[in-house]
Point group: none
Chain length 209, copies 4
């Protein structure tokens, strides 16, 4: 039934989609490197290998592109989280450990620290982005963490604590590690694996009964 509606993309449409993605990727790089205001659409166009006017065939404005860039690049952060939530069968401790490990992995990929900095620094000036970000990312993620904690409490692994309410506390060190990599890695390089281990151990100690 649904197959009827299924849309087989023509070559033209594949092209369009590819181009759109190229622009978003180029935008990501430029926004991450320069920040929203300082980034130039000229540079985005060059990086994407398209004409400057072409960007406007796909996005209404620089702001619209920015929003798309943030949206698109957030998803890895969100999606990796989901995988464990539903399928994983081990203990809550194992689940939380794996989750945080994956979070570090994602947060330190490629231009992710820049993205995080960008979100922290500029998103507050884009209300619709803040909205989107909150609903799509924060809420999902918070409820995921709460579920894990609840599972741990139910299984007797974790104790009851206010941390279930303030899940920010649990993941903040991971966010900050990305910022650190971006800003201070040259001056004071950190072994982020050890950092992650210390953080996870810290979290577990805080939650365990």
């Amino acid at each position: 039934m649904e197959a009827l509606k299924e849309h087989i993309p023509s070559k033209r449409e594949q092209q369009k989609e590819a181009r759109r993605n190229a622009i978003i990727d180029a935008g990501f790089q430029e926004f991450a490197l320069q920040g929203f205001t300082a980034a130039k659409l000229d540079d985005v166009a060059v990086r994407a290998g398209v004409g400057k006017g072409t960007i406007y065939l796909y996005f209404d404005s620089k702001e619209a592109l920015f929003e798309e860039v943030v949206r698109k690049n957030m998803f890895p952060l969100r999606d990796e989280a989901r995988q464990f939530a539903e399928s994983f069968q081990g203990t809550a401790t194992e689940l939380l450990t794996l989750h945080l490990e994956k979070m570090y992995e994602t947060l330190h990929q490629d231009k992710m620290p820049e993205l995080v900095a960008m979100i922290m620094g500029e998103t507050s000036r884009f209300p619709s982005l803040t909205d989107f970000f909150f609903k799509e990312m924060i809420e999902n993620h918070q409820s995921l963490l709460r579920d894990i904690i609840q599972k741990g409490v139910d299984r007797g692994e974790f104790r009851e604590s206010a941390l279930r309410q303030f899940t920010q506390i649990l993941i903040a060190p991971a966010m900050i590690s990305a910022i650190w990599r971006l800003q201070f890695d040259e001056q004071s390089p950190i072994d982020f694996d050890e950092y992650a281990r210390a953080h996870i151990e810290f979290v577990l100690r805080g939650l365990k009964t």
Copy 2:
């Protein structure tokens, strides 16, 4: 004796200092609200109640003003920390608790969340600021925290742990709380006092023997 060298500021000089501060304050507001690139010196001038050209009597450029703004406003964060470090006589636990409480207090004052976001978002594009920030803020603060932890370990309050190395982990939730207030407080207001208490308890649990 020293009184001879003492500099009694004339009215003119007091005026100049006052004006300089007015510009820095106005710059703080504008940079916090708009971000570095988007902030307009015109607006800074209006807010400071001076002519546009006057800014250039006190600062070489927009960037120079930005650096001064960040420098100046960082100091409360740094200085409040120092107070406890040297004088306090209680246990390490009490000391750490007080220190974190003060940190929350400072981080949530007035436009502090905006400053934090600004620093996280834009500083990486101002190498000299990053330098300054690292040396003046991060290093000081890290060594302060390490001293407190060491004291706790020495007194048998805290256990040995990798957290002494990665003090970022301990304070990250406080930084993130400022970001949260800035970005999501409308959508999902938090009781930051409870948040702080949960965080501090979490920290102590992570450190305690």
Copy 3:
């Protein structure tokens, strides 16, 4: 064969070239009228019939435009000289006479006096222009004059003299006549044809055996 590589300018490219020339011409007028520093790109844009930003599609800066303006407008001065150098078959006297006559004609065309004043007044602050000017104009012209004089000496028309070394002496009155037209023609108009005749006769008398 070469036809294959031949570049047939599209309409677009013709347009661009035309616009570029329009800007250079407008710049010439404005620089000639106001001098480099006092000339406004706004006015250049209006005069050229383009938007202000358009100038920057063709030139990197006001200085770059200035250099192009000077370069471009020098060529008549240089090129008219070349014509006689190679082809002319008459006596050295005739050649020199024609050369100087042509020089007067060129120097008093349209905005040439302004150009001369501009070059004398402002070029010394543009080292790259001075370089260019010297190599392209002065050296060429000096060697041309020296060739003519040598020819005259060889043919027994002219005597040996230090003037072959200091060709500036021979043409200085022509340069000054342009300056005069620009500055004093209102107060004390000169018959520049007679002036030119007097100058040429003077030159020949100075060179002749």
Copy 4:
């Protein structure tokens, strides 16, 4: 009789005069170096060792200062000429020779080439200066030269020629030599003494019977 009107300057007035001169001298340097528009009154003030506002106690505007600068510095050029005109007793040939030699000496002093370039390049935008320049300098100088030539003709030293009418032709090479020193001396240094000798010989040959 005139002594009655004689004004004995008080110390105050001497101070004022000295200050005024300091400003004019500083202005000369700056205008010569930068040109009228590019010169900054700030720099003039610093060079003169006075406050910026002080300039306005002595001159109405930047333009007024410029005019004074040009006026004042022209006088050496004018006055040296006068000396010979009236007193000298030798032949017209000697007189003209001495006059031209003195002219070279003056034109190559200190910042004179810059002054000449300034006059040629910028004066045309200052009508009142052009007026003054013409009346004070050109007319005087022309009549002086004409007198010398007339004297030479009367004495049988010189022939009748159109050069008496176009005295510019006679002195142009000296003006151009100043311009050359300013602009091309680095690239192609000239022995200006030889140049002057060649010029003078050339002039005499052009005038002699």
